[in-house]
């Protein structure tokens, strides 16, 4: 088995949750493998020390050119530093998606994106689980890893190992990074606009998705929220259609919320959406499709058309 590497995402000197999840995913791929964490950035000693608590080995790539994690620049460094045939794990987030496909081409390895499970390794064949069609079906895939692999791992798919007993050592590989000039230059991060309601502070959310069908129907959601004393949030399609402000969107590309109660109305429950719900709220799903993935994720489900059900619920709540 090849050497396994885990790419550590970090921000403001702290490693991302994915750092501990990738260590567990690596174990699932090969329990006997030595797993090396890779930390790229500028002024990253604290992150390296943190990573060494969970990984036996940490490779540090410290350069002013890596001050902001631009995937094009990181890829150049990794191509120069990684050994041939390595298996590289990345989180399946906006950085991993930016880096992974091109990295696999430059290293001439297999690429498997958004992995949710590991079935096992048989020689050069690695059997993995992923999903297609917005999570409506799952698939087993076989990756030929004889020449290595780049694999992105879905957030939350592996329970993080919090034991932090690795006692690892940090090796400085910065000198091997090579030329880090790029045709893509980072300019700035534009922070999300703050909306009229801060849904991250809401205790009860009535959240609406594609099942609402038409902008005019939003009224029935607003009426229910008003009757319940809740705030209105939504899934991505509603923001894409410009029916609600971006600040109302729950999900990895929107807000992370932690209400007590979450009413998912006409929402299918993609992992990007569910990734924005933290703190184990009581989730009620109302969806007319009994096979919708949301029914696997909710506490309570109601198979109904929200256009008919919500007005009746509002009436009952109002008494």
């Amino acid at each position: 088995m090849a050497q396994i590497f885990a790419y550590i995402i970090h921000k403001d000197g702290v490693a991302d949750d994915s750092a501990l999840e990738l260590a567990v995913a690596a174990q699932a791929i090969d329990p006997s493998a030595s797993v090396t964490a890779i930390v790229c950035g500028s002024g990253i000693d604290a992150v390296c020390t943190e990573a060494a608590a969970s990984y036996k080995e940490v490779w540090k790539i410290d350069s002013a050119d890596l001050a902001y994690p631009n995937a094009e620049v990181v890829r150049k460094a990794l191509v120069n530093i990684l050994p041939k045939g390595a298996v590289i794990l990345l989180p399946h987030n906006t950085f991993g998606m930016d880096l992974g496909p091109g990295l696999s081409v430059k290293l001439d390895t297999a690429y498997v994106a958004d992995v949710v499970g590991v079935e096992g390794t048989d020689g050069n064949n690695l059997k993995l689980i992923r999903q297609e069609y917005s999570g409506m079906v799952s698939t087993h895939v076989n990756a030929d890893i004889s020449g290595g692999a780049v694999i992105t791992i879905r957030g939350g798919a592996f329970q993080p190992d919090e034991s932090k007993g690795a006692g690892g050592s940090v090796t400085d590989k910065s000198g091997d990074a090579g030329d880090l000039g790029s045709k893509r230059r980072f300019l700035e991060v534009v922070e999300a606009e703050v909306g009229d309601v801060d849904i991250t502070k809401s205790e009860v959310l009535v959240s609406v998705g594609r099942g609402i069908e038409d902008q005019d129907n939003l009224e029935i959601v607003e009426e229910l929220a008003k009757a319940m004393g809740a705030d209105v949030s939504c899934s991505r399609p509603i923001v894409d259609a410009k029916w609600l402000e971006k600040s109302r969107q729950v999900g990895t590309s929107g807000q992370t919320v932690s209400p007590k109660v979450y009413l998912a109305c006409g929402i299918s429950g993609s992992f990007q959406h569910m990734g924005g719900i933290k703190g184990a709220p009581f989730i009620v799903a109302i969806n007319k499709n009994p096979k919708s993935p949301i029914f696997q994720l909710a506490d309570v489900g109601i198979v109904a058309d929200i256009l008919e059900f919500l007005p009746e619920l509002t009436e009952a709540v109002e008494g």
Binding site: Y133, T139, V190, E203, K260, F282, A298, V300, G301
Partner: protein, 263 residues
Amino acid sequence: MNILVCVKRVPDTSENEIEVNSSGSDIERDDLVYSVNEWDNYAVEEAIQIRDKVGGKVTVITVGDDESEEILRREMAMGADEGILLSDDAFEGSDGKGLATILKAEIEKGSYDLIMTGAQADGGAAQVGGMLAAMLDMPYASLVNKIEVLDDSKIKVGREIEGGNQEMNEIDLPCVLSIQTGINEPRYVGIRGIRKVASLDIPVHGAGDLSIDAASVGEAAAKVKRLDYFVPDMGEGAEILEGSTEEIIEKLIEMLKAKGGLK
């Protein structure tokens, strides 16, 4: 600006329930409604808007069978100037790299300033754009939700990153971008628009036309192969409330009160 947009014909998940067939070898394809991949449609709209602003040409391209021609024609009805269909039995079973290899061969026959894909398609891997860029040695940005043309040699792009934030980058042309939904509002295409482009010629290029070694694409070359489809056992899932609507609402209100969802 000469813009190429890579598109794909996919089962429309908002119109269909996707189910696994009895043997698990595929999804149930009978009676599926197909359409252009949603992300690709945003990419085509963006390309048309850029062309209308700075001039140039928009070409839409797909790898697929004869039936994929209909989505090229749909995007031409939207306003794309030309369509190209890449089709060959040798392409079947290609993995992401196989698809990128096929697209690269066609792209190298032309001269494009900007190449776009949708951020992802039905397989959810979000991989072809990034692979294509690396093969062409062009810079790449994924999940793009804003494009501003600065001059003939560079553009400014916004990438959607976590938390609703936007990462701004400057990129040299030519480059490859993967486009996120919500970047614009794709225009409506009516049946009349599609009729207007019905007689336009869409060239079909195979492995021979593209000088592609058949062994470098298709199932044999794929390092990643799908073995089966299945529906995972996710445990019990939600407690489904049954009964008349009144009964369901009564139960629900009781639960909401207990969980703090109602005062």
